[in-house]
């Protein structure tokens, strides 16, 4: 198979993480009353960014080793 699945997974969660982190920084703190006062968008956004980065990190060396395709 010529598409390394870790690439789209990593990309999608990086985008989600970035969206949530930025929204968490910009949003009105009043909306976090329901989430027990925690800015969950910011924190979970960072978690997703980290997850996305790990997936991309795993995918990219494989792609470089075999031009034109992934490891799997």
């Amino acid at each position: 198979m010529n598409l390394d699945l870790r690439l789209p997974i990593g990309l999608m969660f990086t985008v989600f993480g970035a969206l949530l982190t930025v929204f968490g920084l910009a949003s009105d703190k009043a909306i976090y009353a329901r989430s027990l006062g925690i800015n969950v968008n910011l924190w979970w956004g960072l978690v997703l960014l980290a997850f996305g980065a790990v997936m991309l990190g795993l995918a990219l060396p494989g792609a470089r080793a075999r031009p034109g395709g992934g490891r799997s």
């Binding site: 789209p8 985008v15 989430s35 925690i38 978690v47 799997s72």
Partner: protein, 569 residues
């Protein structure tokens, strides 16, 4: 309940997700050249991807919404659907059955039945399976559209058309590979989308200790011991001591053996993912890889239901209550999403919910188009055409499979009873199936006539048992006793279902043995090589280091599952 208002950020997340799903289909379209590419991913999927897809294909509407509802209704006992009703069967299919499924090069489960038994057994299985998958995917679509209508105020038509079109496009373009890749994407989305909900809920109720304390009044108000909602085994001594109304034997035999092995070991929907694996070792590791996250899923899907009912009782009315005073358990997950998650994470949670519905639907559609094309069209309608012809038929089957599903979704809105009846009939057909496979794979004397008539007798036995018994407090009809009088009354519907399965399996098992002994063998030892245990060379896995062998993984998985059962006893 109040409808949820979505913000721009929530829609952005949903749209990004749809973009990725369709994009994967678009990229993979280039790799579909033969019918094997389309229906079996060219048997090239690595074990970890096949394993997560194996899990995710089953992670449909029923799992996310239904298991949370059961968590609220029955508490921790719901975990038996995982730790008793799934893991042992997944280990069994990986270690003992996959060598025959994968090794025989059968392209589908019905095709295995033809190789092992005969044409009529295959035909019976293929046709009932094809009909069943279309209706399951329709019912899944119906459930999604109803939920979105209630929670978001979206129109029923919009949701049906949107989900149908997206699933259609990505399967049409990339076939099974596209479905599998998207299932893995959906798996991560479901885990990462629901995890914040569980963490917030647990923090709110004061961790596991706080949850146990808050569930005690739930149990005592219903007339059970205080731990009935937070223990898994302790109250299974008698059917009257737990909210499920089941005793340990019915649980272990009915759910743990017949229903669980019947589903995980014979349902082509999940087996197809393992058949697409890149090698025999990968195929055998597929269900074992799937078992590891499966073991932890109760935290993700049952816990929210338990948190919802604890808060409902503790703080007064979190869940909407019906006219008869019982809470609407099916809304446990959407209510919690709205309760805890602000705009942003709410979008992620809802996207995860939609992903779970779509992965369930896609699983059904890919299983349908394969069984239709290989086992019905190629076998009975147009045999002997070119591979291109069958590939084209696979594309067409994807389209009409989805059109039928949409029709089934609309039929459900009109004739709810017909759907309930169909599901009941499918349950009768499925219940005995594992007896046929068990005898087929491990007893070379089992014959084609034995298998076919054994299945038929098992199905009739299931219907008869259901027709003569009734769950406590139910009216005769669909719920049972349709043959006139109720000979026996079960404490609950679940107990009745478990015993229907036990009766069906036992009848099929005995009937298959008796009929096989009375009829002549229709396959010689030579023809059965690779299909039956005693005639197949053992896989030794000597070339693999011990920690990579499927058996090692199986033992580890079973050990961890036993540990979980003890911790939450």
């Amino acid at each position: 309940m109040h409808q949820i208002q979505l913000g721009a950020i929530d829609y952005a997340i949903l749209i990004v997700y749809f973009g990725f799903v369709l994009g994967i289909g678009w990229i993979l379209r280039r790799y579909v050249r033969t019918s094997e590419d389309f229906f079996l991913s060219g048997r090239s999927i690595p074990a970890w991807i096949a394993g997560l897809a194996f899990l995710s294909a089953n992670l449909g509407a029923q799992e996310v919404i239904g298991m949370a509802a059961s968590g609220a209704k029955y508490g921790m006992m719901t975990s038996h659907f995982y730790w008793v009703g799934a893991i042992p069967a997944m280990v069994f299919v990986g270690i003992f059955m996959m060598p025959f499924y994968y090794g025989s090069r059968a392209r589908s489960v019905p095709e295995y039945l033809r190789l092992r038994f005969d044409e009529k057994t295959r035909g019976f299985n293929a046709i009932t399976f094809a009909v069943m998958t279309v209706f399951s995917s329709g019912i899944s679509m119906y459930a999604l559209a109803k939920l979105l209508e209630l929670v978001l105020g979206w129109s029923f038509h919009t949701s049906v058309v949107l989900s149908a079109v997206i699933v259609l496009v990505y399967i049409f373009l990339g076939g099974l590979t596209s479905a599998i890749y998207n299932e893995v994407l959906q798996f991560f989305l479901i885990v990462l989308g629901f995890l914040p909900l569980v963490l917030l809920g647990l923090k709110d109720v004061g961790g596991w200790a706080g949850l146990t304390a808050k569930l005690a009044p739930v149990a005592t108000q219903a007339g059970y011991a205080p731990g009935a909602w937070s223990d898994s085994w302790r109250h299974l001594g008698s059917a009257s001591a737990n909210p499920m109304g089941v005793e340990w034997f019915g649980m272990v035999m009915g759910l743990g053996f017949v229903l669980s092995f019947g589903y995980w070991c014979t349902d082509f929907l999940v087996i197809q993912r393992a058949m697409a694996a890149e090698s025999m070792t990968a195929a055998r590791r597929t269900p074992l890889m799937a078992a590891i996250p499966k073991m932890l899923f109760p935290a993700l899907v049952i816990l929210p239901g338990m948190i919802a009912i604890a808060l409902h009782t503790d703080r007064g009315g979190l869940l909407p209550v019906g006219s008869d005073g019982t809470p609407n358990y099916n809304l446990a997950v959407p209510v919690l999403l709205a309760h805890y998650l602000p705009s942003g994470l709410l979008g992620l949670g809802l996207t995860a919910l939609m992903a779970s519905f779509m992965s369930g639907m896609a699983g059904n559609v890919t299983a349908f188009n394969t069984v239709w094309t290989y086992d019905i069209y190629q076998s009975y309608i147009r045999p002997g055409r070119t591979d291109r012809h069958y590939l084209r038929m696979g594309h067409a089957a994807t389209v009409f499979g989805i059109v039928f599903s949409v029709a089934a979704a609309y039929a459900t809105t009109r004739f709810n009873n017909i759907m309930d009846m169909l599901q009941l009939v499918f349950a009768f057909v499925n219940a005995p199936l594992f007896a046929t496979f068990l005898l087929g794979m491990f007893w070379r004397r089992a014959t084609g006539h034995g298998a076919f008539f054994g299945l038929l007798i098992g199905t009739v036995a299931a219907a008869t048992h259901h027709g003569l018994t009734l769950p406590h407090g139910a009216m005769p009809g669909l719920k049972g006793a349709f043959l006139g009088t109720a000979v026996h009354t079960y404490p609950s519907e679940m107990a009745q279902n478990f015993w229907t399965a036990i009766v069906a399996w036992t009848s099929c098992f005995i009937a298959t043995i008796v009929i096989s002994l009375l009829t002549g063998r229709n396959k010689s030892d030579d023809e059965l090589r690779g299909l039956v245990y005693s005639l197949t060379p053992r896989l030794t896995d000597r070339d693999l280091p011990w920690y990579k062998r499927p058996a090692t993984l199986g033992v580890v998985v079973l050990g961890l599952t036993a540990l979980l059962n003890i911790i939450f006893w």
